[in-house]
Amino acid sequence: MVAANAPARAAGIALGNNKRAVGYRCPEAHVVAWDEEADNRHFSAGVGALEELVARFTLLSPGTLAIPLDSLKHGYADEPSAVEALISALVSATGWEFFPGIAGTVFAAVLAAGQARRVEPGETAEFLAVQPVSTLEYAGAGATELIDTFTQLGLRTLGDLAALDARDVNSRFGALGKRAHDLATGVEWTPLSDHVREERLNVELGLDTPTTRSDTLGFLTRQLAAELLTAVRSRGLVCTQITIELIAVSGQSSKRTWRIEDMNENTIADRLRWQAEGWLAGATRQGPAAARTGPQTGSGPQAQAGSAPQIGTAPDDPGPDPEDFSEEGIIAVGLVAAELTTPIGATRSLFDENTGQVTHTLERLQGLFGPDSVLVPGLQGGWDPAETNLWTPWQQAASPVRSPGAPWPGALHAPRPTTVEHLPVDVLAAGGRPVGARPAGLESAPYAIRFPTGTTEEIADYSGSWPVESGWWDPAKAIYRTRLQVVTGSGQALLLSKENGQWYITGRYR
């Protein structure tokens, strides 16, 4: 239990209770699993009311926000009236209870808010000195261990810790220890970054007639991008990432986030052109069957008229001619400034070795061969190398599907295959029958492997098979897979996996 509302607390539910204890105290209590993102979203939406009242504030965590007192100086006569005005505005806007606390540092103010009190200026150190050392949990992950150590060393209060020499604490406990010492002595660590107003900087453009011509799109985008960048600049900010969204007649959309070092309307137009070309070419390659689903929601004669020649063209013709390579075309374009920062944050570091030149080279290649031709590696969660691979086009934000932090029982150990494939093969036992696999193991010893080209190779040695079973609670996600490593007669090692009754080569050691 990490949080409970007032009626729940009245029923005797306290923080730290487990689910069973909650059910015992109040059977009708509704227990919800904690989701940090939902918390954040909910909270930041709620405090929107504050944007109208104060110039600067910072969201520390869901449920905690900090307001520098000097930002209130001009608007309010004195502290009590300011606090009263802010709290009443927040409570009436959100319906939540807020506790105010005023102190010399943010950490002290958070502690003071727990007691809803005001620490007089200059008394912050005394106020902190009597607090128990466990309050250092505020310092974040990793602090728990430090608190245990401090307690074992006999440092029960922050005052005990503050009495130690800062240099000694730093040399013994490192950066985290230094941070804890700073908090305990009432030294502000870093100035808090201000909450940037939650306006979404975006521009949209609907086209009169759908188009598949990327040069037309590029031309229109240049104006649109200039508009967006002017809006960004007028706020004294710099845009470092941009999200481009294309909407087709059929309602499908393509959304990608690009990181651009020298952001201007031309580079944005280039990215949009790449994205549009790749998307439209991909849609064409799927063939008429996929393409025919397009115009069902299509509006206007353009989509209908264009559909006939499209179905006529062969699907294996990638269609370098942009005039008739898709029957739908793009009807709307949207640009969102995905990452905004201050100009100083966007300057390139001196210590990055020749990234500028590398960027230039890779962008040139992307221009020649399409954005998906230049891939940078990343890792995500998964059992097999094919799943942990996360190749992202250069300068696009990586979007992992599976969490690398989560446990992946049965994941492949090193040495792992060097390349990933997905090639159906037959694995045969001595009699020529296919080898079956069960969670308990293989039904018979593999003897030979037959490749789709027709060649058969003897299996010299093979590993134990190990199964992956996951998602059995959801038929759509269910995975039953058996993996096997084999060494062929020619000394080549392969990773095989059997799924839905078919063996595949999923990795090659080369």
Binding site: V374, R416, P417, A493, Y509
Partner: protein, 226 residues
């Protein structure tokens, strides 16, 4: 008569800019100590083409470039298919300085000619063998930009040829273990070398014993996976 035109000619044609370079050439790039003896000068040469062929040659190439990427040198792979990121990371390559190019196989020379401008190491599995003229241009460019070029197929004009002649995987134990390490025998201009690639940790390691037969039979498998 001054030596300036001669020096200019040397530096343009041979990539030699100082007298010391005339004798020593460029200092090679550091490689993993296990792999160092394979190279004539104890490291990955710069401004030259090295060929690495045979089984496990891709692993060997990636292990060779690992130290360079850790030293913030940019490396690109061309024509490698889809490499497994986990194994690249296991071999010690810094993922922030590795780029994989997915371009048509017949365009590899064009891609190389663009990458040569700013990259330090290229690992290429050429889609086709270049003609004599193209090869001469490539060699000149490699020498001029002082990059390290590793080709995974044999190519005339290369200065060092490393051929992996034998690979022996161990650990599978006929259905009772898993792949643990691979004993590799490689032949280069410096002789025949034996080492484990990948070793038990996924990185290159010294061969366990002088003869391969002993090396394998002495490795007991304690844990079996059933």
């Amino acid at each position: 008569m001054s030596a300036v035109p001669l020096v200019e000619q040397l530096s343009r044609e041979m990539g030699i800019s100082t007298a010391a370079a005339l004798f020593d050439g460029l200092a090679p790039r550091t490689v993993d100590p296990v792999l160092a003896p394979m190279f004539r000068r104890g490291g990955l040469p710069r401004g030259e083409i090295v060929t690495l062929t045979g089984g496990q040659s891709l692993s060997c190439a990636l292990a060779t470039i690992a130290v360079a990427t850790q030293e913030q040198k940019w490396c690109a792979g061309i024509g490698l298919g889809e490499p497994a990121v986990s194994s690249i990371a296991d071999l010690g390559v810094d993922l922030d300085h590795f780029v994989n190019l997915v371009t048509p196989a017949e365009d590899w020379l064009r891609v190389v000619s663009i990458l040569i401008e700013s990259f330090d190491v290229l690992v290429v599995d050429p889609g086709f063998l270049p003609s004599a003229g193209e090869r001469a241009r490539l060699l000149a460019k490699v020498r001029e930009r002082k990059i390290s070029f590793i080709s995974l197929t044999s190519m005339p004009g290369s200065t060092e040829q490393i051929e992996i002649t034998d690979t022996q995987w161990s650990g599978t134990e006929r259905g009772h273990g898993r792949l643990r390490s691979c004993l590799v025998q490689a032949r280069s201009q410096t002789g025949v070398h034996r080492f484990l690639l990948p070793g038990p940790e996924g990185t290159p390691a010294e061969a366990p014993a002088p003869t391969p037969a002993e090396g394998i039979s002495e490795r007991p498998v304690i844990r079996s996976v059933s």
